[in-house]
Amino acid sequence: MKNSRRTFIKLAGIAAAGLALAPRKGLAAEGHEPVKVNATAIHAKHWAMVIDTTKLNTAEAINKLAAACHHDHNVPHIEGKQEVKWLWHDTYPHTFPEQENPHMAEEVHERVFPLLCNHCQNPPCVRVCPTKATFQRPDGIVAMDYHRCIGCRYCMAGCPYGSRSFNWGDPRLGLDLGNLNPEFPTRMRGVVEKCNFCVERLAVGKLPVCVEASEGAMHFGDLMDPDSEVRKVLREKFTIRRKPSAGTEPSVYYII
């Protein structure tokens, strides 16, 4: 008999019919859970970011940070409506639409603001995701499990900040294949992606790429620790968050 796929399928069918009659036995569970947190990881009860927009407010400077983030996470470069972005910038009226007034300081009104996922304390994207591909970690980071995303885009509809991008095409087509970060995966077509607060770096004791590259204009730390750097700047400076009326409680604060 020829050993073809067709014969195999036939035989498998016969065997399956046989097995359907046989009693079922569950697979024995492994039982042992041999894992722990990396020794070098840094921890927080709730990670948060404070961005000093008196220091960081030009498209040029923000683009530099975006380039660093996008290179580190193999974020594709796609022009137009299907753009994929983890870190980007926008104008005051687009960033803080509810916090405008007709006579505000021109200098502030003319700044551009760095934008990223706010890692909300009360994230609507997590609430609406039917597969739990978007989930909130105990340390507050709103993470994406790309293995489980089915591309329904509910989370994009749920996010009031446009922080998520959908991969309409193969994201690898938008990458410079000669200049990838081989330590971080790419994404596949048909999933949603966004800033991950650099969880892969926190796991080895490093701060986020953008924070490191910002030369002191971005602070990162534990919101629940009164002695942390972020709490110190929040205590000393006036800050606002995006779209407070959405009730999402962003973990990204802006010094104005």
């Binding site: 008999m1 020829k2 050993n3 796929r5 014969t7 035989l11 498998a12 016969i14 065997a15 019919a17 046989g18 097995l19 009659l21 046989a22 492994e30 041999p34 894992v35 722990k36 947190v37 990396n38 020794a39 990881a41 989930f135 970690r137 105990p138 340390d139 993470a143 499990d145 790309y146 293995h147 690898r172 990458l175 294949l177 990838l180 081989p182 330590e183 971080f184 995966p185 790419t186 994404r187 596949m188 077509r189 969880v199 796991a203």
Partner: protein, 126 residues
Amino acid sequence: MYNGFAIVAGLVIFFAMLTAPFALGTMTKQYKEPELKLPKNEKECIESTEYMRTNHMQLLNEWRDWALRDGKRTYINHKGKEFTISLQNTCLKCHTSKADFCDKCHNDAGVSPYCWDCHIQPEGLK
């Protein structure tokens, strides 16, 4: 015995169906294990060869949940040795060729796992 003939006949047919693939399989071409290119600098994988051969798919499945969802990225193997949980940065640092290692068995078994839709093979993307 009521319906003795029917029961015995039924049992015979049942076992014939159940064992048909094995019986017929031995008459056809013998399966030969593909020759893999093993890492040059390492003698042992994170677990024994036998364990990896049968369990690597379950292990990788657990690894992704431990690392991504539980935030636990250090694996302690059955001998107590520790490894960083990462397909990209642990597995592929030793197995430097997808074509000469992964693909060999996957092709023979007719499976094409979608790991490579995202993870970058050691040969790099083309």
